[in-house]
Amino acid sequence: MTRIAEGSPMIALSAIRFTYDGRARTLFEGLSLEIPAGSITAILGPNGAGKSTLLHLILGMLKPRSGIVRLDGRPRHTYSRRALGRLVGMVAQTESIPFSFTVTDYVLLGRAPYLSPLGVPGLEDVRVAEEALARLGIEAMARRAIDTLSGGEQQLVVLARALAQQPRILLLDEPTAHLDLGNKGRVLRLVQEMVADGITAVFTTHEPDLVAAIADYVVLMRGGQTLAVGKMADVFTSQNLSQTYGVPVTVAQVAGRRIAIA
């Protein structure tokens, strides 16, 4: 089962085969998956399931041995790098920022796909960056050095950078892994808002509750296999999650939202 919903998919992987260099085990063998436009799709699975690898295949960081990745109906490799930069944004799991950039300097980097390789950002770019900061409610941090911020604040700044990039697809690798409850809520709300504005979001996580909170669609993965793909309500079941994690998992309803209890 690969098709999640009707309509043309924003991201389509067909017959993907992938092996890491120097490793015997083939991670993906004939993986096919379609992700609908304007939705939030969660890739859920235990550590080592291949979630981040899948994101990196969509981004183009990793190249499949065979098979095709299509973005908005066109094969990935037919886009120029800059066009891809305007199409796909990425929020990595841990983004190391080795120098003390100010928040504004860093968020401005999101404008790179709109500039020539030797270009420098202009007033319009600064405006977009400031708007992104304002939208996350962190404009007060604009002049601060990034390495003086807490981990949660840094993650918000990384999201602001992705927002300034104005992509149509946003990939998030474990976006809330190091966040407290308050910042987790803020990040999730922002992703929901961005999707309401028309972008397509795909995130990986190993926390089932995050999926239940915001995902429209769910891809359950284990050991490079997709176990179940579909609408959250259909896929997020005790039986599926038990199979995914290899331990008994009970899905319960609390305050109108599903939670998973292992």
Binding site: R86, P98, S100, F101, D105, A112, P113, L118, V120, L171
Partner: protein, 325 residues
């Protein structure tokens, strides 16, 4: 701020023209330029090319240091430590001892082996099966530098003690004595071209300081673009090292000073590092040629003055950069 550094550079150039040991130690009255033909020749044929080379030296080392620190995500990298300086020294030694080469030949050999040093360090680092990327780079740089300094030692041992050895030792001390317009004009095209490339790509450098996935998602080709900037940096470094020998610390300290004064954004910090590096090298070289009756090796002064300036600036309260855009 950037303008201030530019003015500082011009000021150091102007003052340096009148500082020296003619007609008497330290200061030459400007009117002598009109009256005294020896003073004219001295300024035009000796001081001017030397100041130009000092400026290119400082700019190249500081620019290359900034680029390397950013693309290797490591603030402890300097252009020499990845095998470039020791490689260039070995090349120069090879040129002097084995090939009996002249100025241009020595320069070419130093340039080639400087690049080779970096390539060896980089490819060794990708093959080391120990530690993170930063540690592997450090280890690879140390190993390759050690290899080349062993080679330099061996060439010194075999060198003719009356002709070749003094030339090699003078070269290795890192100094600009004997620099004329010929040397200045030989390295001018390479360094100018490389520095222009770095300045043009100054904002892009920020993207290349991010990790691969993020840099890629922002529409760049991280591997290819880093390589291009690395080649420009190494070319400039190798060119100036071939003329000046190993001048330490400029490439490590000046990028830090620039970031401290101007902030981390390379759009401002890189040009700032170039201006600061140029000024710093001119000041040090002016002291080197005028403080004592004999020359003081430039490398000693850059370390001495650099270490003090570094300490003072790092202890001072950080002032966040006024956005200079």
């Amino acid at each position: 701020m950037l303008w201030g550094l530019g003015v500082l550079l011009l000021l150091s150039i102007a003052l340096s023209l009148f500082i020296g040991r003619y007609p008497s130690p330290y200061w030459m009255p400007p009117q002598l330029l009109v009256e005294d033909t020896l003073a004219q020749r001295l300024v035009v044929n000796l001081r001017m090319p030397r100041i130009l080379v000092a400026m290119l030296l400082g700019m190249s080392l500081a620019g290359a240091g900034t680029v390397m620190q950013m693309i290797f995500h490591n603030p402890l990298v300097e252009p020499g430590f990845l095998g470039v300086s020791q490689g260039a020294s070995f090349g120069a030694a090879l040129g002097i001892v084995a090939l009996n080469a002249s100025g241009l030949g020595i320069q070419a050999a130093a340039g080639c082996f400087g690049c080779l040093g970096l390539i060896l360090s980089y490819s060794l680092a990708t093959r080391i099966r120990y530690g993170g990327w930063t540690l592997r780079l450090v280890l690879a740089g140390i190993a390759v530098s050690a290899l080349f300094s062993a080679g330099v030692g061996m060439l010194k041992y075999f060198a003719d003690p009356l002709t070749q050895l003094p030339e090699l030792v003078f070269w290795m001390l890192g100094a600009l004595w004997g620099v004329t317009w010929r040397e200045a004009l030989t390295i001018l095209p390479v360094t100018l071209l490389a520095l222009a490339g770095l300045v043009l790509a100054r904002w892009r450098l920020n993207i290349l300081a991010l990790d691969d996935a993020t840099a890629l998602s922002l529409g760049s080709a991280p591997a290819r673009e880093r390589l291009a900037l690395l080649v420009a940096s190494v070319a400039a470094t190798a060119a100036v090292v071939s003329v000046a020998g190993v001048v330490s610390w400029v490439g490590l300290i000046v990028p830090h000073l620039a970031r401290r004064l101007l902030g981390a954004d390379a759009q401002v910090a890189l040009p700032g590092a170039l201006l600061l590096g140029g000024t710093f090298a001119i000041v040090c070289d002016t002291i080197a040629r005028s403080a004592l009756p004999g020359e003081i090796p430039l490398g000693i002064l850059t370390s001495l003055i650099g270490a003090f300036a570094f300490g003072v600036l790092m202890m001072a309260q950080p002032r966040l950069a006024a956005q200079a855009r």
